[in-house]
């Protein structure tokens, strides 16, 4: 077996193709552009199609169509592009059409956009956040499975670091298996043929009395499916030294790798510090966070934004433990979220200050 040095964007693209993705459409924007470029290289040789759409609006629309026809399909952009896609993502949840949306974000300012959704209506999208290229293959396979299983868009969150970190990968010769189209997929049968199907955000069947769709029944069905999805997805986490930790860091994506390095340094200095890394951002792993922080004095949330995931952490522990934000807020001139203040040294130093404060508070009679 041979190895090759590839950038994270290519790992992301390769992971999608391996997960069975055969249609991809997107519009270039840093740091997503290279994912689109690699999909354009990888898809045609396996019989797939990649389209450089005229905008993100058209990209997600094309993906909607490909997914409705039973193809494993995906689109992507940065958070800015996902803003444009929100209408389609929201409507796709009502139409029961699953596809994957890759957000190669600038920093982590899109946490709310991903986990709450920026579109209209009473919907949710599962969100997965790999911490680096080595985790992408598994996460992407899970994303496509979830999209198909729940017939719902699934968001995979990366960032500039994930896109542009190069790693050695083993070149696998095995051909990925493309699952057959689901039975509900449109196959071109037209009305009157007896085999026609309907996929619409208004419902999957019209009433026979000629008054159109039964929206109440449809929305009830969608709500039920959403609730089953929320309960049916087991959120995943990674735990590091949480068993005896007085202070537990919570971080996701690349930020968790900085947090993990800081935790190891602080441990070597004798501090009882641990880390929880949510891999699934929605449904948020509230039970795991609560369990892993049961004995903690403080929870410190480290995210590359002004504080978004911290809300979910607070909801998870419901006031049983103080939660503070120690954000690695990126203010670099590139605006790509690779600020000089996102460093192991900075985070370690912030954590030392926090630990000092806690010690001082504890020593006050």
């Amino acid at each position: 077996m041979s190895t090759r040095l590839v950038e994270g964007s290519e790992v992301v693209a390769d992971a999608m193709v391996r997960a069975g993705c055969r249609f991809f459409a997107g519009y270039p924007m840093t740091p997503f552009t290279e994912v689109l470029e690699h999909m354009a290289e990888l898809l045609p040789p396996v019989g797939g199609v990649c389209v450089n759409a005229e905008s993100e609006l058209e990209a997600v629309g094309m993906v909607w169509g490909a997914a409705a026809a039973g193809s494993r399909a995906a689109t992507g952009s940065t958070g800015q592009g996902l803003s444009l896609m929100q209408e389609s993502i929201a409507e796709a949840t009502l139409a029961g059409i699953g596809f994957v949306v890759v957000n190669m974000a600038r920093g982590q300012g899109d946490y709310f956009q991903s986990t709450r959704g920026g579109g209209h209506g009473d919907y949710r999208t599962p969100v997965l956040a790999p911490s680096g290229p080595s985790e992408v293959i598994d996460v992407m396979a899970e994303a496509f499975d979830l999209a198909e299983r729940w017939r719902n868009p699934v968001v995979v969150v990366g960032d500039y670091y994930l896109a542009h970190t190069w790693v050695d990968v083993d070149i696998l010769d095995s051909d990925p298996v493309v699952p057959p189209a689901p039975e509900w997929a449109l196959d071109g049968s037209s009305g009157g043929s007896g085999a026609a199907k309907l996929l619409s955000f208004l419902g999957t069947s019209k009433q026979r009395d000629g008054v159109g769709y039964d929206l109440a029944a449809h929305y009830e069905h969608c709500a039920q499916r959403r609730n089953e999805m929320a309960a049916g997805i087991a959120p995943r986490v990674e735990l590091l030294h949480t068993d005896d930790a007085d202070v537990v860091l919570v971080a996701y994506g690349t930020m968790a790798r900085y947090a993990g390095a800081a935790v190891e340094i602080l441990r070597s200095e004798g501090h009882r510090v641990g880390m929880i890394r949510p891999i699934t951002l929605w449904p948020f792993p509230a039970d795991a966070v609560r369990e892993a922080t049961r004995c903690a004095q403080t929870i410190a949330v480290y995210e590359n934004n002004a504080g978004q995931m911290i809300d979910d952490v607070r909801l998870a522990v419901l006031g049983n433990c103080p939660v503070v934000g120690i954000n690695g807020f990126a203010t670099d001139s590139s605006a790509f979220g690779i600020a000089p203040d996102v460093t192991v040294e900075q985070l370690t130093s912030t954590m030392r200050e926090l630990l000092d404060t806690l010690e001082t508070e504890a020593s006050v009679p």
């Binding site: 040095l5 970190t165 190069w166 050695d168 690349t254 390095a261 192991v344």
Partner: protein, 192 residues
Amino acid sequence: MQREVVFTGIGGQGVQLAARTLAEAAMADRRRVQLFASYGGMMRGGNSDSFLVISDGPITAPPVVGSAWAAAILHHEHAGELWPKLGAESIAAVNSSVVDPARCPVEPGFDLVEIPALDIATELGSPVAASLVLVGALVARTNLVSADALLDSAASVLPSYRASAAAANRAALQAGLDLGEVTHPAWDLVAT
């Protein structure tokens, strides 16, 4: 075991090529690698940094490492944030043809090796390959990668439209490898 190598210089000095070359060589030695580049928008004159991790096992280090075992300093302009990453066990190869000694730590606390990389590369007729002389010299002192793997990566790292530069780049790496003996072995056993 894991070794972190940080590279710094200004755009156009070959910082990224040097880092990629060392990464490819480490892979040929059957080690795992992770490489993150950070560079400004300018083609020349902006910062160009690279963070390479070479390991015997899976790598969990963040893209921008907090501490480094080795450094290749092509230029002093943006080196300020890298010096503190080096510790007592570290070695830094400095491009003494260019780097201002006044911009280096007075008491480094690590092994600082001065290599006139640009002068050597210029003598070879290929001043753009100075970064490869420096990497060759770093490998000569450390055995971070095997010499054969390093020399072979001169060609494998280049895109096809740059293939004509492979011979000169290989000569630059060899010139660096010829400078000195191993003083600072990176691994317990040299990769086979």
